[in-house]
Amino acid sequence: MNKLKRNVELLQGNEACVKGAILSGVRFFAGYPITPSSEIAEGMARLLPQIGGKFVQMEDEIASIAAVIGASIAGFKSLTATSGPGFSLKQENLGFAIISEIPCVIVNAQRGGPSTGLPTKPSQGDMMQARWGTHGDHSIIALAPSTVNEVLTLTIKAVNFSEKYRTPVILLLDEVIAHMREKVEIPAPEEVEVINRKKPTVPPEEYFPFKPDQNGIPPMANFGEGYRYHITGLIHNQKGLPTSNPQEIDSFIRRINNKIQENVKDIIIYEKYFLDDAKIALIACGSVARAAERTVKLAREEGLKVGLLKLLTIWPFPSEEVNRLAQQVDLIIVPEMNLGQMVLEVERASRGNCEVVSYSRVDGELINPIEILGKIQEEIKK
């Protein structure tokens, strides 16, 4: 292991995202400047040309994700980065990437919204937009790191999931995670698990670009490899041609949803802190999870049996795990930097097995450990 070229660096969250993307094989970035994600574009502009990759600054947010889709179908692992206003503009093409099953990663460094909102302040206001921002029935994968090191590891995961499941993946940062600096252990390239899209094994004349394999995911030929390939935003049959056959439509919509829903065990990532004997559980993600972790320590010092479920995968939502937890504890508190978005999923998943309480903050300030502790004490007194 000593021979591996592993570096420890002090990195900003956005810089760690760049490193993770490159380690996972991303060689194309198209983007548009927007606070607080611009450092990802800047880092990509500097590094990609040096390693045979391509950086393109586009004329707007819509163009950025469209170019990423184009580059991905040409065989490059592709990523774009933005924040709330840009994420809103990208929703149309996000849906296109879902229906045409084109792997790509969209980083959303969340800031306060709606609209221009609070460009330099953190928020978790896009949890539901990540899930339902684009129209129509679809599943989505969204990951949310809470440390700079996790930005690196989850960026790699995001790229891998997108390749494995032929789907866009969203990486939800927030302004604090994007801009703060922490120690990051950068793995040696040979240590990194890199997943590449499955290629067709049949000759071009036998290839159906949207015919699923046994896992529900069609092997993907890239443009220029000799396979005839028709891609459209219309609902299509296995050949990729538009269809209005109800059976084909039904099986297509169910397949693109099921390929994610049936693999939740692989996709869902979380961490548990002091949950074994907990009677009160916190469920948090992103920068709020950092505060919640500290709250657990403070509460334990006071003899309160509090634990934390830190979610790294937000979508698909870890319903089973939350349901198990709800059967164990008396109370779940969900602190989040929005008016209560994730708490809705927690309520649904806990199915009345315990009390679920929201703790929300929307003033552009971080939630701190003391106020979560205060909320716990307040709930105990009730």
Partner: protein, 307 residues
């Protein structure tokens, strides 16, 4: 033409105390343009330095109605306001004159906002669109735009071993706007304040859409001493990098012809964003940029009937 003394007596619509950088070109652009007005004005502002720095909570520098919409929407938002005003006027519910102006930087105008700008011009709304062109996304930290000139360093066109700054020439937006065949289009400079104020007046008091493109030197992004803003604006005109002209009802007219055009090197030498071009291996780029400027100037002379 008003003289400086008269202009100084006009109501100040963009007041002091805003937080644009000392030496910023944008506030000079806005103040000179608004000083040409005799009527009340509705100001629309795309996202950018101007919007952010003039409206920092809980203050505003705007002595007028003001609306900021997200980055790409200013021309469309003003379109709606102007259309409703025109309707109310037609219905006899408003009798006074109100002017409409939209301000956008080059990012909000050349790039993300060009669709809504083009639509508003084609529909013929009676408004003035002003681009304060500082040649990059300065508000987010100096990323290239399609107005960034060839060779310039930005954070997304970093000068190094692989590329020598931006590799493409800038988009000729003024000509693109002129191709919309609107009543009035002009390119102007804060250095020639009398020319700019006159153009602004024409723009406001011409029926139909009008467009002004004004170079707005940015010392943070261009890397020059903040006291030299007007000097840099002046050199841009004297080198023919930023020619002053207007297109009035389809007729092109040159407004300034330097006695002897200065070499573009002089303008570039004054700015840190070009310093890598002065290395021997990049010198040819300066030569090519000079040739391009001269070629475009010759074309402009022909269009303007000077040749």
């Amino acid at each position: 033409m008003a003289n400086l003394k008269e202009l100084s007596k006009k109501k100040v619509l963009l007041t002091g105390g805003h937080r644009l950088c000392a030496g910023c070109g944008a506030s000079i652009v806005v103040r000179q343009i608004l000083s040409s007005l005799d009527d009340p004005v509705v100001v629309g502002n795309a996202t950018g330095c101007l919007e952010v720095a003039t409206t920092i909570y809980p203050y505003t520098s705007w002595n007028s109605s003001f609306i900021h919409n997200a980055f790409e929407n200013v021309a469309a938002t003003i379109s709606g306001a102007e259309a409703m005003f025109r309707s109310l006027k037609k219905q006899g519910k408003i009798d006074k004159e109100i002017k409409f102006v939209a301000f956008g930087g080059d990012g909000g105008t050349y790039d993300i906002g060009i669709q809504s700008l083009s639509g508003a011009l084609e529909r013929g709304h009676n408004f003035v669109y002003v681009c304060y062109d500082n040649e990059a996304y300065m508000n987010t930290g100096i990323q290239r735009s399609s107005a960034t000139p060839r060779g310039a360093w930005t954070t997304t066109t970093p000068a190094g071993k692989v590329i020598p700054g931006k590799t493409q020439y800038r988009k000729d937006l003024t000509a693109i706007i002129a191709a919309h065949n609107i009543p009035y289009v002009a390119q102007a400079s804060i250095w020639r304040w009398n020319d700019l104020v006159e153009k602004a007046r024409k723009a406001f008091y011409t029926e139909g859409p009008a467009f002004l493109n004004v170079l707005s030197p940015c010392h943070r992004g261009w890397r020059f001493n903040m006291k030299d803003t007007i000097e840099i604006a002046k050199l841009a005109v004297q080198t023919n990098f930023w020619p002053l002209y207007e297109v009035e009802n389809g007729v092109w007219k040159l407004n300034y012809k330097p006695k002897e055009r200065k070499p573009i090197r002089e303008w570039m030498e004054a700015q840190g964003r070009y310093k890598h071009l002065f290395r021997p291996e990049n010198e040819h780029i300066i030569k090519e940029i000079q040739e391009e400027i001269d070629k475009k100037w010759e074309k402009l002379l022909v269009i303007c009937g000077e040749k």
